[in-house]
């Protein structure tokens, strides 16, 4: 596919906005209102820049920008295509919502070092957009690593013993795999092909023997441990010690989606669907993903800590995306890419709810939340919508992506996968619905809260209402995400 391209500095600006706001945040650290206004400003500007590129992308044009030619043949280069745009749109729009939520949460709990928190949050978003707009593996790796290190101070925000041990786990898994697997795999690919630029059918075809291609494939698959594919998943539950807005935006949307985005990008742009298909590499990938889906959902069943439950649910849901791309059928890939957006809005709602409950009541465990629906009806209604979206039931956006995944597995003649998808939906229902049920319907004597409505601060509640609403709207109006995903799949498969 020869795409029309235009050169524009806009993608770089979209990345730099949140990077350049960091010094301003530091300087305004003494005046929280100014600081948060700056965060909003940066988030808004970033979203507008991303948004301004949407029409161009929908026209089938790509935007490219070269930052520097760092290695002969490999430049630090940005390219905006439909898939990158889909992801950038999701994360930049949710940053605005999360910024509002952060204010409610951090001030509600009187957290320390809020300036540091907002600075690294901005930095993390720069890196996220950078990953979305990377034109080659080197640029992708650069922003991937930047994100790993920028999120460390956020994960360990509390600076206590638990934060330290979680931080260690986080680094060990994320950085250990990226240096241990991705870096050598990237350099071997470079030695083989002499280029690292993503292209619609990859650049590795015909450069190496079958076993080496297979090895590289798995080095990339597990190397991007942010995708939390088992057995490299256990950093994610550990990272739940972070303040909830971090868990919400980073560990349900930005960071983890960067992981699956990288996996999807590498599978399609480095290996290419034809190569994967001809070597039958997609079969082990979808089975690894299926295993992660089932195991993640089963473990989630046994969790009492709400955030940990959500973390395991996220692990399972992330593998849907890998699964969709691994199916290599047009519908399956569309579903996988679409799930990035659909899951994002659903899961961030759930995390916002968990955080709102914590701010309002200080409760972290599900067993302590019986009857919470009477005390926080708006929050729990949003939670219900979010969980419907994750289960994949109408009237929520999650339904569409699951629908495409189901169609995709039929298209690829993978009946086992169909079974996995349906079972997993049942499991999702099994871990969410009892909680929602007990939150609203319990005998008055069992209720742990007074029958008096008392929600979290407005800054917490409004964002979660917004994301829940968007989750519903996405079912009826899944554009532009659906169109972007379709465009990307079309450019890969030609269908």
């Amino acid at each position: 596919m020869n795409m029309e391209t235009i050169i524009s500095i806009k993608p770089l600006l979209a990345i730099l906005v949140s990077l350049l706001v960091v010094p301003i945040l530091v300087l305004s650290g003494k005046r929280p209102n100014v600081r948060e206004a700056c965060t909003f400003l940066a988030a808004g500007v970033k979203f507008l820049i991303v948004l301004s590129m949407v029409p161009v992308i929908l026209n089938g044009t790509q935007i490219v920008y070269t930052i520097a030619e760092v290695i002969p043949g490999v430049a630090l280069k940005l390219r905006v295509d439909a898939f990158g745009m889909l992801f950038a749109l999701v994360s930049s729009s949710l940053w605005i919502v999360t910024s509002a939520y952060s204010i409610g949460y951090m001030r509600g709990l009187k957290e320390h070092s809020q300036t540091r928190y907002f600075c690294f949050f901005a930095l993390a978003l720069s890196a996220t957009i950078g990953v979305a707009f990377s034109a080659n593996l080197l640029t992708l790796y650069l922003f991937y690593e930047m994100l790993s290190f920028a999120t460390y101070p956020l994960v360990t925000h509390h600076q206590d013993h638990e934060a330290r041990s979680s931080g260690r786990k986080y680094l060990l898994y994320i950085v250990g795999t990226s240096i241990g697997f991705v870096l050598p795999a990237m350099l071997i690919s470079y030695s083989l092909a002499g280029t690292l630029d993503f292209s619609s059918q990859g650049f590795l075809a015909g450069t190496a023997s079958k076993p080496l291609i297979g090895l590289l494939c798995f080095m990339f698959l597990f190397g991007f441990a942010k995708a939390a594919i088992m057995p490299f998943h256990s950093w994610l539950p550990a990272a739940m010690v972070a303040p909830t807005p971090v868990s919400a935006l980073l560990h349900a949307v930005a960071v983890v989606k960067v992981g699956v985005f990288c996996v999807a990008r590498v599978l399609t742009g480095v290996f290419g669907t034809n190569l994967l298909f001809s070597l039958n590499l997609n079969v082990p990938i979808i089975y690894i993903a299926s295993f992660t889906i089932m195991a993640g959902s089963l473990i989630a069943l046994s969790q009492d800590n709400l955030k940990r439950l959500l973390a395991f649910s996220t692990i399972a849901q992330l593998s849907y995306i890998v699964l969709g791309v691994g199916l290599l059928s047009p519908k399956g890939m569309t579903g996988g890419m679409l799930h990035i957006a659909m899951h994002a809005f659903g899961k961030i709602t759930l995390f916002f709810c968990a955080g709102a409950i914590f701010v309002a009541t200080g409760k972290k465990n599900i067993s302590d939340m019986i009857g919470i629906g009477r005390r926080m009806p708006v929050t729990m209604a949003a939670f219900f919508i979010g969980s419907l979206s994750i289960i994949g039931m109408p009237p929520c956006g999650g339904f569409i992506s699951k629908w495409y995944l189901v169609l995709g597995s039929l298209q690829a003649h993978q009946m086992t996968i169909l079974f996995v998808l349906l079972t997993s939906s049942l499991l999702n229902a099994a871990y969410f619905m009892p909680f929602v049920y007990k939150a609203f319907f319990c005998r008055p004597e069992d209720a742990m809260f007074e029958n008096k409505v008392q929600e979290a601060p407005a800054f917490c509640v409004v964002p979660l209402v917004i994301t829940a609403t968007i989750s519903v709207i996405l079912l009826f109006y899944p554009q532009p995400f659906l169109r972007l995903a379709r465009m990307m799949v079309q450019s890969i498969t030609g269908v």
């Binding site: 520097a68 030619e69 320390h112 101070p153 600076q159 206590d160």
Partner: protein, 496 residues
């Protein structure tokens, strides 16, 4: 004026060293400005030379008008024109940053200290610029003797550690001299280019082989290539910060330069990699150096000493890269001379700032430093990223070339060692960051503001440090240009 740059960059620091030592008797406050001015002029001529080489190609400067091979000639080619600015700029920035530290530690000895400092820089620049194998030995000794003097001015254990270094360093220099003697016997010349022209018929000669091996061992001793590294950690750790942050970045790197010069110019790659055919074994030695350096660094509970073991590991990077025997590996090694000098400077300057404020560099002394010294710690983070090899810092790109070289040489052990050392570096630095970040622990996770204020080092120390940190990123982004316009021409075309 620009014709005289090659002479200026040695003569200026040499003469100003004498001026400074006299000025020290008159008025101690004169020493610092003179030293800075001298190094400023030196750095200026080094950069000027680099630009001229980029413009005109190799420059031959005949010292005193004597023609080689009788007279001493300075050859400024793409290889040393790249190293010269690094040496001079590192020396200049470090001097400016350490003014306060030097005055704090040696209020009475500032004059002699600056004199030694300038002489040391003279020696290092001379080693890099000279095209004469014997002249190189002389300058080697100038740099070494002044280095001993500088390093010995430190803690209680510094003189003993330096004495150890003196023994080992002297042996190393003697080995090198012996090797040059052999070369002189078989070729009758001391001029590097001349020797290279005379050697090819003698490649099978045992004397040439002996000369090469003896020179290499001497140089390896001087650069602390494992297992000849034992003198380095103590000598660098117990020295004063101004000396260690001059010597740690430069001496080992200049010695790596000498090794590469010997391989590329004097003995030629053809002899080293084809006739000798021991490169595989040397790269395995480098693998051991890297792994041991990393493991020994892990065993330290002391920031400065940990960094010295990282220096040992980094030497392994460069020796291994140079001995891979292909273009990418050699590019990586040369690039790493530049990058490692800068990043070692960065982390050692950080130690300097910490010592200035906290009066210690053991892990226990580092508690709460992110709050107390945020700018210094920011620089440490960037330096650490570069040592770990995170893009876009420069350390990533030299590692890139080294690994690509390892892959194309089929030497996967070297690749594994580089990856291993990167991961160990993550552990090393995050262990430090953890201490600086978490401790002292709050009883419960504190929602209060840790209101303990900032206690940053003086501006004159922080600004040069931040400049170095920024340079780490800028050099990283300009890697493509450095390789395309400089290093590419420094490696003979015969190497592929």
């Amino acid at each position: 004026m620009s014709e005289q740059y090659p002479a200026l960059l040695v003569v200026v620091p040499l003469l100003s060293a004498l001026v400074v030592s006299v000025a020290g008797w008159v008025n101690k406050r004169l020493c610092f400005p003179i030293a800075v001015a001298a190094l400023g002029v030196t750095a200026w001529s080094c950069v000027g030379l680099l630009l001229r080489v980029l413009d005109e190609g190799v420059i031959v400067y005949k010292l005193g008008g004597w023609t080689p091979p009788m007279g001493i000639a300075y050859y400024i080619d793409y290889l040393n024109s790249l190293v010269l600015p690094v040496v001079s700029i590192v020396a200049l920035l470090n001097l400016i940053a350490n003014k306060k530290g030097i005055e704090q530690q040696f209020p009475d000895k500032t004059g002699p200290f600056y004199t030694l400092y300038l002489l040391m820089v003279t020696g290092l620049l001379g080693i890099v610029v000279t095209g004469d194998a014997f002249n190189l030995y002389v300058l080697l000794e100038i740099a070494a003797l002044t280095g001993y003097g500088l390093l010995a001015m430190g803690e209680e254990r510094a003189p003993l550690a330096t004495l150890n270094y003196l023994y080992m360093g002297t042996i190393g220099a003697c080995f090198y001299l012996l090797g040059v003697g052999y070369l002189y016997i078989v070729t009758g010349s001391l001029n590097m280019v001349d020797i290279a022209g005379l050697l090819p018929p003698l490649y099978q000669s045992k004397a040439v082989l002996a000369a090469f091996i003896i020179c290499m061992v001497g140089v390896w001793l001087k650069m602390a290539f494992f297992p000849l590294h034992a003198w380095l950690p103590n000598a660098y750790t117990y020295a004063n910060s101004a000396a260690s942050s001059l010597i740690a970045p430069l001496v080992t790197k200049v010695m790596v330069y000498v090794m590469i010069r010997l391989i590329l110019t004097v003995f030629t790659p053809e002899f080293v990699f084809t006739t000798l055919a021991v490169s595989d074994a040397v790269v395995w030695l480098a693998v051991i150096a890297i792994v041991m350096g990393a493991v020994l660094a892990l065993a330290e509970r002391n920031l400065k000493k940990m960094l010295t073991y990282i220096v040992v590991a980094e030497v392994g990077y460069m020796v291994g890269g140079a001995w891979l025997g292909n273009r990418d590996g050699m590019t990586g090694a040369i690039l790493h001379i530049v990058n490692d000098a800068l990043m070692t400077l960065c982390v050692f300057m950080v130690v300097g700032n910490i010592v200035y404020k906290v009066k210690g560099y053991a892990f226990e002394d580092l508690q709460g430093l992110f709050r107390k010294m945020p700018f210094t710690m920011a620089a440490l983070v960037i330096g650490a990223m570069s040592i770990i090899g995170v893009p876009p810092t420069c350390g990533f790109f030299s590692k890139w070339y080294l690994i690509v070289g390892a892959i194309s040489a089929g030497h996967y052990g070297f690749m594994a060692a580089l990856i291993f050392s990167s991961i160990v570096s993550v552990v090393l630095f995050f262990r430090v960051f953890e201490i600086c970040y978490y401790e002292p622990f709050a009883d419960h996770h504190g929602h209060d503001n840790h209101s303990g204020g900032m206690d940053e080092a003086p501006v004159s120390m922080v600004v040069p440090l931040l400049i170095v940190a920024v340079i780490l990123i800028v050099v990283g982004l300009y890697t493509g240009d450095i390789v395309n316009h400089v290093i590419q021409f420094a490696i003979p075309e015969a190497m592929v």
